[in-house]
Symmetry: C2
Subunit: 332 residues, 2 copies
């Protein structure tokens, strides 16, 4: 038998475990040209919340009563595919299933000797690439500039800040606990960090840490934090709209101060993106990130939860800030 | 004697003529290295409203009891400056005075035989350049794309739409009267236009005119119109934040729907600018605009009000949509 996690109902506000359902299925069998895969690591990511809404977006919404899917590392248990053999590790967008068959068309073979397998879901996967391309292509950071990162202790934010330091910027992080603030400074080399749970006026807090103003703001959270950053943005500032986790669970259309006047007065650019926009250049990104990783310039932080049954809760915990760095579920 | 217009008090909401005061001064006399100038054409522009607030911006605020200034074409009445002689026409940022002396340092000599003098304040001046650089550098329009322009019958918008047509785009304008809508289509070659005063749901109206969605939105007005455009923005859309005239007279911080989720989902760029960001390339812009003008590909529309005393009212009328194309005051 094999377990599958399906979307039982569309979450209202912060997702609950009851929004998901576990189903037992017969063990699937691969046909010619297919592989049987056993899920090893599951990536849970804030953007999945968006796919749980029945809304047009860059990717189609999850269907009710159908499996949820995310980036997964899986082991080949049986292969009827010429390119793959038993024991290979593959990754790609796969269903939240213990066992599944796949044609392998959109899967990538991993080398477990180069880096730990989990790194392919984090620093060498979508999150690392998201940090790399968002910061470099949209932020175009220049040595000596000041970079502010929200969600700084998260999977993307922690890599963004480290790349900022590699490139010679002053880096300020925003995170939600003193422990995370300490980690940003001590482990990842941020120049300073703000605990948003201890601050009543975020705009003033940013100004204290960056009296010179913000040149590049890498935004993972949106909402009030974005507003506060915009009050400190310098002329020709760049805002990278990577995520808006503070809004993902809103049930009404969120409102806030209009930003167009600031954009004009300060000649600021705000740009949203998804990592697949840069798909053609992924190799460049992976090579650069691997090099920094091997040179010890880049560190990865992971929060690894164990057990297939923990996948929904691990996903939910993203919205409670339970993770430091990349949130993963290790299935076996 | 010579009249000067000073800022009497900072406007609250839409400016009133009582916010300005006319003062009579002795006729000034030029010293060595100076010219005596007689104001011929005065440009009134929405951005001047921002300078009437006591707020940090890209340009310092006007001082109370001091003259208001804007782009002006003036004739040299007397010259003690080697580069200029009596009868020359000069332009630059000058005070709202009938007569003034100036060192000429930041003034440019105009050729009245090439184009009418008023064109130097419009299509070959700041407004033409604002249209040209905003659309080209930020919008990066591609043939076959759909361009939406708000404030389309205004000084900048009417040029933006025409450049859009020259570049092979489908162009849709938004303006405030049926007469302006007709002008956009018949005179400027827009593919279609929307009268915002006859529309209750702007987002649906845009969708009707552009079922294929908007690739480039050139925004002169901000506020609700921007929100409606964002509901129709395509993936990889570009929003050029040129002006926000709908907000300039707000007395409270304007609020609206948060846009970061749309920016992310659709990989959209929003970018504000002021024309002087592109100062190094003004010559390129002027040459291209002049060529299009001489080839008859670009038409200019002007609303010319006569008389020095009409300057404040002409400025105020910008916020009531009284102008078609560039709003100018002809002093003599």
């Amino acid at each position: 038998m094999s377990k599958t996690i399906v979307l039982k109902q569309r979450p209202k506000g912060i997702p609950k475990t009851s929004d998901f359902e576990f189903i037992e299925e017969e063990q699937p069998l691969p046909n010619d040209g297919e592989v049987l895969l056993k899920t090893k690591y599951v990536s849970v990511d804030p953007y999945l919340r968006g796919r749980m809404r029945d809304e047009k977006s860059y990717i189609e919404p999850f269907q009710l009563e159908k499996p949820v899917a995310s980036a997964i590392v899986a082991e080949v248990m049986e292969s009827k595919h010429d390119d793959f053999k038993k024991g290979d590790f593959l990754m790609g967008m796969l269903d939240w299933k213990e066992l599944q068959v796949n044609s392998g068309k959109e899967l990538r073979k991993l080398d477990p000797r180069l880096v730990p397998l989990s790194a392919y879901l984090g620093i060498l996967g979508m999150t690392g690439l998201t940090a790399y391309f968002g910061l470099n292509r949209i932020g175009a950071p220049k040595k000596g500039e000041t970079l502010l990162v929200s969600g700084a202790a998260g999977a993307v934010g922690s890599v963004v800040g480290q790349i900022g330091k590699i490139k010679g910027l002053k880096v300020i992080g925003i995170a939600g606990t003193d422990e995370k603030v300490a980690m940003l400074k001590d482990e990842f080399g941020f120049d300073s960090a703000i605990n948003y749970n201890k601050v009543t006026d975020m705009a003033s807090a940013i100004k204290e840490h960056a009296p010179e103003g913000i040149d590049v703001y890498y935004d993972n959270v949106g909402g009030n934090t974005l507003d506060a950053a915009m009050k400190n943005i310098n002329r020709f500032g760049r805002v990278i709209n990577c995520g808006a986790i503070s809004l993902y669970n809103e049930t009404e259309q969120p409102t806030g101060p209009r930003l167009e006047t600031t954009l004009i007065k300060q000649s600021v650019k705000m740009q949203g993106f998804i990592v697949s926009n840069y798909e053609e250049d992924f190799l460049e990104g992976i090579q650069q990130l691997s090099q920094w990783l091997l040179e010890g310039k880049l560190k990865q932080e992971e929060t690894v939860v164990e057990g297939f049954d923990q996948i929904p809760q691990a996903f939910i915990d993203l919205f409670n800030g339970k993770n430091k760095g990349k949130m993963l579920v290790k299935v076996y």
